[in-house]
């Protein structure tokens, strides 16, 4: 039973060709007791893989639902190219969603689940398209099964197939890999990325797993408390975070208190507990007063006291190893510095030097071009792991 | 998702109206009836004269039956609770794949007419029937004793008829209990019976409460078992009300008695729920 309204002409029929960018402007969502999304501005170029990254409750899923049409914004607009879709019903948007719990129709078999969207739009040769899509996700053998009879990984692929088959302009993925075990998740991450590159659709992937986002996305937007903290390529975000939240949420960071002594030319000098360190100007997000000097643990080099350190640069003696964790690929040290802070240092186990022991006295160093400087008024613990 | 503001009201309306007119309002009618001047009749019409004496008259005259009803219903509920818990527990924890099948079997007797089933009890408990014979041979009963027309028969009938109403809520409650909780108890050195008393039983309380209410309340007002399986010595308040309505036509007394029964039940239920401490029944 397909009603006339279902053969829907979505705004600006796809066949007109030019791929459209997704644009969110000042998008806001307020609920009775709290504001989930605050005046979000976002542009997702057509054909890219975009990740919305953030902890639970940051508003990323709400944003996704507004793009899908399952939630109405309090204010702001959503555009596809030049066409506004802010208030369009979900079934009139060229947007499909892969849900977190898959939301497969339990009373329909795999074929009918995948074919659902096509049938509603009165597409021709549905069977052939379904067959192709099932082959793409390697589920041809399960075509007649019903969702409750399938494993999590299989259901996940059905959900993906069901959405993809409609060739939406934007495919939304709401933490689709959350329920899968590690190995399967890794495999699916690669698979989804491959599919996206192949079909060239715009993918918007919501996740709280920063490794997932960095692996799959061309562009990442880190969200926190309803706003975007920083947006850019994975490398950009990782190497040059602009806020303590991003610094702590993506990977881990050492944040050390310091005061700017001079800021001229392309170098900012900072007094860090008595030692002068320098930071490239384009990585310093504060120019005067106090700040947090940030350095990633894998950039921190340690060497037994007195021995030469590889990196010419900021050299800090007087450290004592307080913890050693052997992680196979690397060794993670906690080093207590003279000013009372423990720094994290990750060293790849190249085998060149013995693994240091707890209690060893060490010198610490890093190359200045890897450091970054963040405003002191930001919470040094923002984005870090919570207390158990 | 977006919804019409008043859709809920419209959907609810027909059912709400039906219940409002044919369930809620009748209670007021009943109250009014209980205050009728007993001199009236169906033909001459009734005057509501706030004849509160109706209540006093009705209660004092039929005190025996009122008390007996509560007593029988209480006893039957207790027995139902024990038997029902056994059955529900067996199905929930010991039945494995046969669960659904056994549940169907619990409901199945329900599908034979209530009256027909109760009549067959009359046959089973008959004086020259198998059971009475056996009990007399075992000298558990005197040669002149009967089962029919005794409280035993009536209560047995009540238990039989209301058992499914006890089993199903109990089962629903027991089924929800996470087996791992019981395992945790035994991991923490609880013996099986302690585990039951401290974990299973408390967790199944909502089911126990629902089951006892769904059993006691209808049983208190029942008269079929009393009529078919008992004698005039086992008359329950339901019999009285029924007769007052149809035979005697004394609507005022019948109404007063009904209201009294309802009031007693409500009072007992409120106390019970408070004591059992469960807020949510449904």
């Amino acid at each position: 039973m397909s009603l006339a309204a279902d053969r829907t002409d979505t705004p600006a029929d796809r066949s007109s060709g030019a791929p459209r960018d997704l644009r969110l402007t000042a998008l806001t969502k307020e609920f009775a007791t709290f504001t989930a999304v605050r005046s979000l501005d976002l542009e997702v170029p057509a054909g890219t893989f975009f990740a919305l990254l953030g902890p639970s409750g940051c508003g990323k899923t709400t944003t996704l639902r507004m793009v899908a049409g399952l939630e109405s914004p309090t204010s702001g607009t959503i555009h596809l190219g030049n066409d506004e879709i802010t208030w369009e019903k979900p079934y009139r948007r060229p947007v499909n969603t892969v849900f977190q719990n898959y939301a497969l129709f339990p009373h329909l078999d795999v074929r009918e689940n995948v074919a659902f969207g096509l049938r509603r739009r009165g597409a021709k040769d549905v069977d052939r398209q379904v067959q192709e899509m099932l082959e793409l996700v390697e589920l041809e053998a399960q075509a007649r099964k019903k969702p409750p009879q399938m494993s999590g990984g299989q259901q996940q692929r059905v959900a993906l197939a069901r959405a993809l088959i409609n060739r939406p302009e934007v495919l939304l993925l709401d933490e689709p890999l959350g329920a899968l075990d590690l190995k399967l998740r890794r495999a699916m991450q690669i698979e989804i990325k491959r599919i996206q590159t192949e079909v060239g659709l715009t993918f918007v992937h919501v996740t709280h797993d920063q490794e997932e986002a960095m692996t799959m996305a061309d562009t990442i937007a880190v969200m926190n408390g309803g706003v975007i903290e920083q947006m850019g390529s994975p490398t950009e975000l990782y190497e040059n975070p602009r806020t303590t939240f991003v610094a702590n949420f993506l990977g881990q960071s050492n944040l050390i208190a310091g005061t700017v002594t001079s800021a001229e030319g392309d170098v900012v000098r900072v007094d860090m507990h008595g030692t002068q360190v320098s930071i490239p100007a384009d990585r310093a997000h504060v120019r005067s007063g106090n700040g947090w000097i940030g350095i990633r643990p894998e950039k921190v080099l340690v060497a037994p006291e007195g021995e030469p350190i590889d990196a010419p640069g900021n050299h800090l003696p007087g450290g004592v190893i307080t913890d050693v964790s052997f992680v196979g690929v690397s060794t993670q040290y906690l080093v207590m510095m003279p000013w009372g802070q423990e720094l994290m240092a990750f060293e790849q186990n190249t085998g060149r030097r013995r693994i240091l022991q707890q209690g060893d006295r060490v010198d610490v160093s890093w190359r200045p071009e890897f450091a970054f400087l963040l405003p002191a008024d930001q919470d040094v613990n923002a984005g870090a792991l919570e207390e158990v | 998702m977006r919804r019409g503001r008043f859709t809920g009201y419209w959907l609810m309306l027909p059912a709400a109206l039906w219940l409002g007119v044919f369930f809620v309002i009748p209670f007021y009618s009943l109250l009014a009836t209980s205050l009728y001047d007993p001199e009236g009749s169906v033909l001459t019409g009734y005057d509501v004269t706030y004849h509160v004496a109706n209540f006093w008259d009705a209660i004092s005259e039929h005190w025996d039956e009122l008390w007996r009803s509560l007593w029988y219903a209480g006893l039957a509920t207790l027995i139902c609770a024990v038997l029902g818990y056994l059955l529900a527990y067996a199905i929930a924890f010991k039945a494995g794949r046969w669960r659904n099948f056994l549940l169907v079997l619990v409901i199945a007797p329900f599908f034979t007419s209530f009256l027909v089933r109760t009549l067959s009890w009359k046959l089973i408990l008959a004086d020259d029937g198998f059971i009475v014979d056996a009990l007399q041979t075992l000298h558990l009963m005197g040669d002149d004793d009967r089962l029919l027309a005794t409280p035993v028969a009536v209560i047995a009938g009540l238990v039989y008829n209301f058992l499914p109403f006890m089993v199903l809520p109990l089962y629903a409650s027991l089924e929800k209990i996470d087996v791992r909780l019981i395992e945790a108890a035994s991991d923490l050195y609880a013996s099986p019976s302690r585990g039951f008393l401290k974990v299973t039983l408390p967790l199944s309380m909502p089911g126990v409460v629902a089951g006892t209410l769904l059993t006691f309340i209808p049983a208190a007002g029942d008269y079929i078992n009393a009529q078919l399986l008992g004698s005039t010595n086992q008359r329950m308040v339901g019999n009285v009300i029924q007769d007052l309505f149809t035979d005697t036509g004394d609507y005022a007394a019948a109404g007063a008695l009904s209201v009294t029964l309802m009031a007693i039940i409500v009072a007992l239920v409120v106390i019970y729920i408070r004591k059992a401490g469960t807020e949510e029944l449904l």
Binding site: F116 | A15, A95, V104, F110, I124
Partner: protein
């Protein structure tokens, strides 16, 4: 573990199951008796309560007793009508209570629960009181019976459908709309098929309650006779064995429906 301990453990573990099954058997004894008595040849005797001899006569001449089959048909008719109305009204109400938020929702929930827990004698007599005070005292019959039946079936329908509806994943309807189905299509293709088992169960329950009702019906029936009322009437004089035939038939039909439904559901979903 010693042999005795092991035996004790075995008994303990299976005792509960055995006890439970015994209770179940106990519940079926009267049914067995009913079925047995439907074959009872008591043409020679007025005493209804003993098994005399085996005969197919009762089954062959089911409608022989005066007025019985008319009563059965009347009960079936009322049952179907009441089930239809109660199921529709109840399903609508269940949707309202689960899916929509409106003031008075908790009051409604209480009102719905009450009929399930009230003594039938009180419900029946209060309804009679209403009819009498409205002037229908002399016109009791099919209509009043119908009204009463819908009244007490509504609660059971609402509770049953509510339970099924509440367990439905809300994402499913969102997924359907995300996949280009309009609200109406979503309802008919997704919501309704998934709620239907609950509606069917509610309808079956409703019919059983209606067909079997005596106390409320008796008070509000006037001169009309339904099957339970017929049985009550003859219980004083002498119950014809055909009554047991009807009882057996009802039992077998319902059992078939329920078991058949169970098997069909099981085939769709492996445990």
């Amino acid at each position: 573990m010693t042999g005795l301990q092991r035996a004790g453990r075995w008994i303990g573990e299976h005792l509960i199951l055995a006890a439970g099954l015994l209770v179940l058997v106990y519940m079926f004894v009267p049914i067995a008796v009913v079925m047995l008595m439907s074959f009872n040849d008591n043409s020679e005797s007025r005493n209804v309560y003993a098994f005399r001899g085996f005969t197919w006569d009762n089954w062959a001449n089911v409608c022989q007793p005066d007025g019985m089959c008319e009563a059965v048909l009347r009960s079936v008719g009322i049952g179907l009508a009441a089930t239809l109305v109660a199921t529709i009204l109840g399903t609508l109400a269940a949707f309202a209570l689960v899916r929509h938020d409106f003031r008075g929702r908790s009051a409604m929930n209480t009102i719905i629960f009450l009929p399930m827990a009230s003594p039938e004698i009180v419900m029946g007599s209060s309804l009679l009181a209403l009819f009498v005070s409205a002037g229908f005292g002399g016109k009791l019959g099919l209509i009043t019976i119908f009204i009463a039946h819908v009244m007490f079936c509504l609660s059971f329908v609402i509770v049953t459908v509510k339970a099924r509806l509440a367990g439905l994943d809300g994402n499913l309807e969102e997924a359907a709309m995300d996949l280009y189905a309009s609200e109406a299509t979503t309802f008919w293709r997704i919501t309704f098929p998934l709620v239907f088992p609950g509606i069917a169960a509610a309808a079956l329950l409703s019919f059983s309650l209606s067909f079997d009702d005596f106390i409320i019906t008796n008070l509000n029936a006037g001169q009309t006779v339904t099957f339970p009322m017929y049985v009550w009437g003859v219980s004083q004089r002498g119950v014809p064995m055909q009554v047991n035939v009807i009882g057996t038939i009802m039992f077998l039909i319902s059992l078939t429906i329920v078991v058949g439904n169970m098997l069909a559901a099981r085939r769709k979903q492996p445990a």
